[in-house]
Symmetry: C2
Subunit: 159 residues, 2 copies
């Protein structure tokens, strides 16, 4: 199903995860971004070492790749991740609009070693009132007006 | 339903969104993080100005708050966002484990001005094969072993 190179990229994401874990950078997660069959960015989980809950391997690698390519869209890139992206990382992957994602461990493997990925997947389409973290929708006229202003704004950069 | 202060915080998130939009920093989105009834961090969307698809207002504000408090957990903090957090931001909110989220516009308002939030919400619990961006699960022995290593690792910092 995967080419020899693709398997190498996936193995590399695991290697990066292992290095990050062993050097105390964060949890056992790694990611590489590939363009035209070449690795252009790598990242491991940095949550606990940088005090940044958003520093998952995928986000670190996506930000690195975007910096390198000077763009906020990774249209022709592939993501190889040692574990299935959590909802935050999946969202980032969609916003970056990559071509494909390959992952090794999945959300259930992550749950088995006490990571919340599967829990957040369950929460995400739960109604606001039933969420473990309460979400309150409070419409404001000013907020509606702002969206109207965006819509008629000239020279805006869409994404 | 909301206190006068809470409404002020939400209005402030809209104001930040507006400033960011008008100064060309990115889309019309803002966020403030509140601790003990005081704003400790603010953020607006910086996607197009910083070439970072992960620089949504919520992520910018969460990272700022964590830096300020020197922690990766915002347990007693509240998030006020000018628009309902997208799945990426919702994930970040869960990982930061904040107390509560209040938002003004919602995902349907965002869709009406051509932002993908609602689309990503629909994609997120779609099966891998049916996703618009293909996700491939390819288990590796090395990845399984890595998770086993994490589980027996001593002195690990969990999150």
């Amino acid at each position: 199903m995967l080419s020899e190179n693709q398997i190498k990229f996936l193995e590399r994401s695991v290697e990066i995860a292992k290095q990050g874990m062993l050097s105390g950078k964060g949890g056992p997660f790694g990611c590489v971004i590939v363009l035209n069959d070449e690795i252009i960015a790598e990242g491991c989980n940095l949550v606990t070492s940088t005090n940044d809950p958003t520093a998952h391997a995928e986000l670190v690698a996506i930000r690195e790749a975007c910096k390198k390519l000077n763009t906020y869209q990774l249209t022709d890139c592939e993501v190889y991740a040692s574990c299935e992206p959590c909802p935050m990382c999946l969202g980032a992957i969609y916003w970056a609009r990559v071509k494909q994602v390959v992952y090794a461990n999945n959300r259930h493997d992550a749950a088995a070693i006490d990571f919340d990925d599967n829990f957040i997947y369950k929460e995400i389409n739960t109604e606001d009132a039933a969420k473990q973290i309460p979400f309150i929708h409070y419409p404001l006229t000013s907020a509606k007006e702002l969206f109207n202003q965006w819509q008629i704004k000239e020279n805006k950069k869409e994404y």
